[in-house]
Symmetry: C2
């Protein structure tokens, strides 16, 4: 879904090929084009195939699968597009290492809070037009290369910002996601006001804050100075949601809650799991994040 937002916009200023999982998805994209509604309004012509063998060579690969499908995508790309730079955009940590294990492509790390609603194989509604943040990964690319991609995304009508080091932004999003997603998945609540409520002893916001404090301690131990405070991100997102709700919009349903409602595997291993493993490696106690991780794993098995 995020991949479609990139593909649809980039087709206005570059030749775009889409690698899908399903053949019928690729055929529908070729036949009908890719429609983006909402914050943008366009129908893009794209190449598309479900067969990696038929993927033409390319300069920039945007790997926009869910974290849970990245292993399969990386296997499909192994040995291909040797000249390309790859950009990962998965939630959590570890996407770059996972891709890197399948090829020595130069890598750019990215995160985004863009969101959309998938209406069909060929129609995605562009909901939240927030920035894509990107930066060089582990010396395989430079800040200048990240800035070139920023310029390309902006030329395509998207919002983007390159950083010399993405980790401060990546970790801010990691802590935010590790917390908001598991709390939503367990309470069956979309990201609404109670996530920021802290007045009463039983208020959920107190747990959200305690969970984020654990995450911040891990970031500090990892030597990462956060780009944004996750608790502030939470408060702002809740306020933005309330403004939208007043105009009749539905509250944002975090992807992990969507996944447990649909009885799909969640990204918890890549988000909260990654945070818990980092905490263990660094010797930082995270009992609450660990509890949330175990609860969501158990809920997945239900």
């Amino acid at each position: 879904m995020i991949g479609s937002l990139y593909a649809g916009h980039l087709a206005s200023c570059a030749e775009v090929s889409v690698l899908t999982r399903r053949g019928e998805h690729a055929r529908a994209l070729v036949d009908e084009g890719l429609r983006i509604s909402g914050k943008s309004d366009l129908t893009a012509r794209v190449h598309a195939t479900a067969d990696p063998e038929h993927l033409p060579d390319f300069d920039l690969g945007i790997v926009a699968t869910k974290a849970t499908q990245l292993e399969d995508a990386a296997a499909a790309l192994a040995g291909r597009a040797r000249g390309a730079t790859m950009m990962t955009i998965q939630n959590g940590l570890g996407a770059e290492e996972l891709l890197r294990a399948r090829g020595d492509w130069p890598l750019v790390s990215a995160v985004t809070f863009m969101s959309g609603v998938r209406h069909s194989d060929t129609h995605v509604e562009y909901e939240l037009d927030t920035e894509t943040w990107l930066g060089p990964y582990a010396g395989t690319t430079t800040y200048e290369q990240a800035q070139e991609i920023e310029a390309l995304l902006v030329a395509a009508g998207l919002r983007a910002r390159a950083f010399p080091d993405l980790r401060p932004a990546q970790w801010s999003k990691l802590i935010f996601n590790a917390t908001v997603n598991t709390v939503a998945a367990l309470t069956d609540l979309p990201h609404v006001g109670v996530f920021a409520a802290v007045d009463e002893p039983t208020d959920l916001g107190r747990l959200v804050r305690d969970l984020m404090d654990e995450g911040k301690a891990v970031a500090a131990a990892a030597g990462v100075e956060l780009h944004e405070d996750p608790w502030e991100m939470n408060v702002q997102a809740v306020q933005r949601g309330e403004t939208l709700a007043a105009r009749g919009h539905y509250a944002h349903v975090p992807s992990m809650l969507e996944d447990v409602r649909s009885r799909r595997r969640t990204e918890v291993d890549f988000i909260t799991g990654a945070l818990v493993r980092e905490a263990e490696r660094l010797g930082v106690p995270v009992p609450l994040q660990t509890a949330m991780y175990r609860l969501v794993k158990a809920r997945e098995s239900a």
Copy 2:
């Protein structure tokens, strides 16, 4: 449902009146009698009314509402049955104080793990025929009086055991319930094997054990020496469940999970909430139990 199990059995050796919430429930009981199937097989004649004014005087009142309905039941009983001894059987802590605020009846505390399935207003299936444990409450009754009730319950075909002090048993059940119920309500899992699994770092049993360890620290601070170790109770219940599952029985669905599935108010304030409040009063940190309490409260509001 537990109340029906007491009423149906006691009718064999005592005159039993049932105070219901709904008039049609009382009328059906009078017209059809009360049928118990499963571990027992009987149909009992009982008096029944939904109007406290029409409740005849009695010697022993068994107050077997859910904890969430106890306040209403206590209000209905206020000023009545002045000569009676009352026995509370609610989950959690605080039922005796709540009843005591509405009348100075001598009180007997009780807990039970009996369970059943309510098939209709007049038919309950008796599932788990475990003991009712009871004891004198705060000097308002004696051990001998508790033993008399034990004898009455046993004469009625139920299993019962009187204790000079019920608190060790009450707290064992409290810690067990505070943990197993919230974990089930949040994971959507019945009480199955993973509740006792501790091999892998993500295994749910590790969280269950950590939660119970917090509860045990509170009991120790309250000067209560537990009757049974809650973790052992958990392991045994899981094993019993697996034996039953092998014979085709469904796994036990803890009441708090039933409640959240049916979008009813849960007993969490009386169980986990009571434990968290006791912990605060005694200065014992219980971060995991507090997290579970906040999550279930939030889930109730979803």
